[in-house]
Amino acid sequence: MSAASVPERGDHPTLPPAFAKALLALILFVAVPATLSGIGGGYLYQIATTALIFVILAASLNLVTGTAGLLSLGHAGFYGIGAYVAALLSTRLGASFLVTLPAAGAVAGAIGTLVALPTMRLVSIYFAVATLGIGEMIYVTLLNWTDFTRGPMGIRSIPDIEMLGWEPHSPMQQYLVVASVAAVSLWVLSRLTHSYFGNALRAVREDDQCASAMGLNVVHLKIVAFGASCCFAGIAGALLAHTANFISPDQFQFGESINILAMVVVGGLGSLPGAVIGALLLVILPEALRSVGDFRMIAIGSIMFFSILLLPKGLLGEASALSLLRRQFGEAWSGRPGPPVGWR
């Protein structure tokens, strides 16, 4: 190994990056739309759009929970903030998609950063509980601030995606817009993950005391990662608002946070391709299994159960979900004195 070249991370065989990127773009922008149009489906496009929204959600949560090792249980809350920002801006002020999309990301990212400031000094399970609380607070606010959010009735007739007068009318055009946003989001997230910033986050995940002894500002790194992650959750929310045209608070409940977390865990903590595959799996599978009725929930539960049991690192992960959890509980789990629990 020559000193000048950075070794490939992980032990998975990888395609040459340029080729892999071109292939992914080809699949995303040509193969999938061609197939979906071929088997003729507006409905199929809806599923594909939903899948891409969850790909962004899972990939962004992976940055915080997978790469930085912070168990976040409130991701759906920031998804909701983005959705409501986009919905309110477009229904009340008539703002276009080109405004609502970045605004949703910015507001969710800013709120995420503000929320992170006090919670980032919490270690282990206390951080997870704090994010759970934050997620619920966001949900309850969306539900009860009726004057502003219309409460449980949700917001209807959110305008479609519209860019400088152009409106994608067909499901395929809408899909292509969502796919472009997803591609850019994934590109940014992959840059963040596969960089020295990502390595610093990994060091924080593996051993934050050691990372700080190496001169890394652990609290700052966590705040940036959390803020960036929330920003992309907000962008996913904006995509949902403009493609579903209807949002309501119950779409952003705790269960949805767990759903996103499950995608990351099934795909493998810390792996961006894993998060993408996990999201695709957990969005498309329930649709594919629709014919077996309520049994599909059992099937999905089993997939999650067995993937944790048999593939402790998920499909492609760098760190095992159980060991993350074990670390979250610290000494309570292992019975031996571990790092101090509480504030640091």
Partner: protein, 254 residues
């Protein structure tokens, strides 16, 4: 500046709920010196280490580095001032490669922000990080294993990996917490030679050690702690003859 010692410990005390782990210790480490810190188990060596690197704060007293007080500084600030440390129980990052482990140490110097990850110019920065990392890996003779997961290294090599990571922070003062623990005699001798070499090349080292022979053979000066207090501070030969030291430490061997 030239007269002030690199590291100055002034009357430092640290209490943990009634237990006084470090009790009014005063001492210093001069530039380019190799100082050993020894003492029986529970003498407060590791506590003193954690005080220097900022993981815990002194209850009383002050620690100064290059004339600057470290009071209230968080560990990463202290590390960036130029104090690199290793840990007693190895703290390598097992899921990361040897190269990535060491490059963690280089990040603070060369930048690792999210912004830099997205902006152009990362090639040249990553070039500089790789260069420093490769350099340090050469020093500890781990270049051949750069791409391997750290978990696959032997125990002895992990010790060097941990030292390499601290070296990659480009410290002025390197503090090593029991680097020879768990090594056999020849490995210990090799490690001693390596540390001596670092000092020859201009580094300053404070070494906490259990292994008396290592400390006595390589250190310029030895500080002895017992029950949190300093009981001796002299060259190795005098320390070995010091009755107080023989009493509290060496005497226990008989």
């Amino acid at each position: 500046m030239s007269d002030a010692p690199m590291l100055e410990i002034r009357n430092v005390t640290r209490r943990f709920q009634g237990l006084t782990a470090v009790d009014g210790v005063t001492g210093h480490v001069a530039a380019h010196e190799l100082v050993g810190l020894i003492g029986p188990n529970g003498a407060g060596k590791t506590t003193l280490f954690n005080l220097i690197s900022g993981f815990i704060a002194p209850s009383e007293g002050e620690i100064r580095f290059e004339g600057r007080s470290l009071a209230g500084m968080r560990p990463h600030r202290i590390a960036r001032l130029g104090i690199g440390r290793t840990f007693q129980n190895l703290r390598i990052l097992p899921n990361m490669t040897v190269f990535d482990n060491v490059s963690i140490g280089a990040l603070a110097t060369f930048g690792h922000s999210a912004w830099q990850a997205l902006m152009p110019g990362r090639r040249s920065r990553s070039g500089r990080i790789s260069e420093l990392t490769g350099d340090v890996l050469d020093q500890v003779r781990l270049s051949a294993q750069a791409g391997e997961l750290a978990a696959n290294l032997s125990y002895g090599r992990r010790k060097y990996l941990e030292i390499a990571r601290a070296l990659a922070t480009r410290p002025k003062l390197l503090i090593l917490d029991e680097p020879a623990a768990g090594l056999n005699e020849s490995e210990t001798a090799e490690l001693g030679e390596f540390i001596r070499g670092l000092v020859r090349r201009g580094l300053t080292v404070l070494l906490v050690e259990h292994d008396m022979s290592l400390v006595m053979s390589i250190c310029d000066r030895v500080i002895v702690l017992a029950s949190g207090a300093k009981i001796a501070d002299a060259d190795p030969a005098s320390v070995q003859r010091d009755p107080a030291v023989l009493d509290s430490y060496l005497g226990t061997r008989d």
